[in-house]
């Protein structure tokens, strides 16, 4: 691999023990940067022979400790494998390596394939697309096309044995990789397994049709229940690409307040945002008319709303709104503060219990002295919703680490019985709630993992069932 492919620099090894969160990992023994699939195979075979743990990472920006070593070993940094290998415009898919970043995909499509688009997350442009897909990340088109994992046609992965497997249509060696069907869904062996079943070295990702006209609106509201009701009503109209409810601290943080815990009773409680797009102005106008009808109906029922405010106007008032205008985006108001800590409990759950979950979670956050930062987004046509509670804190202060961990534990204790399942799940959730996992599921998961990785070298400590 050459000297540039291997690092034992103590400073880099130490830096690899932390991510943005309160979770601490162990120091890797070495960081390896493979550039080819063959090099990944060689590293994995070497590790398997010596029963050395291998933890795959790309940008190392994931939160929750999933990309931190639990038992030292090899930190396999895949960021050098960053080629977009092919883009099939007519068949609407692209094949990428695991180090490909969001910003790269966006630039590539806008420059070379402007009729196509991918969905983008609320994540910085220099973070990885494939890792996000394998962790079932959220996109700004997930309301219409589900979470990022559902955009996978298949993957190529290096198994702990060093063998290569291709899933989806590409399992047929002469087939195009435009679908996962009609094959048995072996891609699922690599989704949400947190890198414990294989090192994904290629992924085929679905692309969507780009729209010429796109707008994002914000509404300010004084009634949280009315906000959720409005979002649910708009979901069923199928007119928006993305919808979300943001709690009041978010707006203040955009204006530079580091940790807003005080709210004037006259201030809005929530912001609702709506993304609408179309290729035709007439269709766009109709979508916006329907949106406004629902806002007016909500007002008629007694809810107070301000807006819709076009995000382009908000940017003219406060340029920092630009971070919420176009994804991928580095949410600097969450990251650029003393100590730089960012953690969250993110859950997938029933939209029918959003109000209850949001209200109870925000009360817990306020009781513990944290700004009640809440984001809720409907997914997959409204079949389920995201409820996410976010904390910023100073990672250099152990007492803040402890406070965040205690808060996150209480939030999971609260939300899990309501049906909200943590995603990108940190290992401590399994440890504290193991008894709530179906016994058959745990047994099958262990069987699958043991069959694929009998020595347990891949990202040990994750999914500790």
């Amino acid at each position: 691999m050459g000297e540039e492919g291997v690092s034992t620099d103590p400073a880099l090894l130490q830096a690899a023990t932390r991510d943005y969160t309160e979770v601490t990992g162990t120091r890797p023994d070495v960081i390896v940067h493979p550039g080819t699939v063959e090099q990944v195979q060689a590293v994995v075979r070497f590790a398997a022979a010596g029963k050395i743990p291998v933890t795959p990472v790309v940008a190392s920006s994931n939160v929750g400790g999933l990309a931190l070593c639990s038992r030292g070993g090899i930190l396999l940094n895949l960021s050098r494998m960053n080629r977009i290998l092919e883009t099939r415009e007519e068949d609407m898919y692209m094949v990428v390596e695991p180090g490909v970043q969001w910003g790269q995909v966006k630039e590539h499509l806008e420059r070379n394939h402007p009729t196509l688009r991918y969905g983008y997350p609320l994540a910085p442009p220099d973070t990885g697309v494939v890792a996000n897909a394998l962790l079932d990340g959220l996109l700004n088109l997930s309301l219409r096309f589900d979470t990022n994992a559902k955009w996978l046609n298949g993957v190529e992965a290096v198994l702990p044995s060093g063998e290569i497997v291709r899933t989806g249509a590409a399992a047929w060696t002469r087939a195009q990789w435009c679908t996962g069907s009609p094959m048995p869904d072996l891609t699922g062996l690599f989704i949400n397994f947190h890198g414990t079943t294989g090192i994904v070295t290629k992924a085929s990702l679905r692309l969507q049709v780009a729209k010429r006209i796109r707008t994002r609106f914000f509404l300010m509201g004084w009634d949280t229940d009315a906000a959720f009701a409005l979002v649910k009503a708009l979901v069923r109209e199928e007119i928006c690409d993305d919808l979300g409810v943001l709690s009041w601290p978010v707006a203040k943080m955009l204006f530079g307040e580091a940790r807003p815990v005080w709210r004037d009773p006259a201030e809005p409680l929530v912001m609702v945002y709506a993304d609408v797009s179309s290729n035709r102005q007439k269709e766009m106008d109709l979508r916006l008319e329907i949106l406004n009808e629902h806002v007016d109906a909500s007002k008629a029922r007694g809810a107070a709303w301000q807006g819709p405010l076009d995000v382009r106007d908000l940017i003219r008032i406060e340029p920092r709104f630009r971070t919420l205008s176009d994804f991928p985006a580095r949410l600097d108001f969450l990251l650029d503060h003393p100590g730089g800590g960012l953690s969250w409990v993110g859950t997938f759950g029933p939209c029918s219990r959003w109000e209850e979950g949001a209200r109870a979670s925000m009360a817990v956050m306020e009781r513990r002295g944290f700004p009640p930062i809440m984001v809720a987004r409907p997914m997959a046509g409204g079949h389920f919703g995201v409820l996410r509670l976010i904390e910023t804190f100073d990672r250099t202060r152990p007492e803040e680490d402890a406070a965040v961990l205690a808060l996150n534990r209480e939030l999971v204790d609260l939300l899990l019985p309501m049906g909200f399942v943590p995603y990108k799940t940190p290992p401590w959730v399994f440890e504290s709630h193991a008894s709530e996992l179906d016994a058959g599921f745990r047994s099958l998961l262990r069987t699958v993992r043991t069959a694929i990785d009998p020595a347990g070298i891949l990202n040990p400590g994750k999914w500790p069932v």
Binding site: W222, W248, F255, G256, E257, A304, R316
Partner: protein, 122 residues
């Protein structure tokens, strides 16, 4: 350049943040800043929120609530933002979307700040 600050930074409302952002950009124009220096207490009311901007000689201090204004302006947030973005005051005032009271000359001076903010990219 005149400083724009909050009387109590831990108690700044969203309306205060919005107004502070506009003022900071407007104040980057020395002529506009000069026009509002020492203007006194101006009230802004929107969507139930109320703030006071006290224009001193070298700073503007924003606080939540307040009274004893020399002049005030109020309306829906979207209408007030519309005035800030377009500079068009007469139409929204004539159809009642934007209201005002007190000394009109003080508010006219405030319009210079809004115009300067627009020129500065706001």
């Amino acid at each position: 350049m005149m400083e724009v600050r909050f009387a109590d930074p831990s108690r700044a409302t969203l309306l205060a943040h919005v107004f502070a952002s506009i003022l900071r950009r407007g104040m980057s124009d020395p002529a506009a800043a000069q026009a509002v220096a020492g203007l006194g207490r101006i009230g802004v009311q929107a969507a139930g929120m109320k703030i006071t901007a006290e224009f001193l000689g070298d700073a503007v201090v924003l606080s939540v609530g307040g009274d004893g204004w020399r002049a005030w302006v109020g309306g829906d947030m979207s209408d007030l933002l519309g005035v800030c973005l377009s500079g068009a005051v007469i139409g929204p005032w004539l159809d009642g979307r934007v209201k005002w009271g007190g000394n009109p000359f003080a508010l006219l001076k405030l319009l210079k700040i809004l115009a300067a903010a627009r020129r500065a990219g706001g």
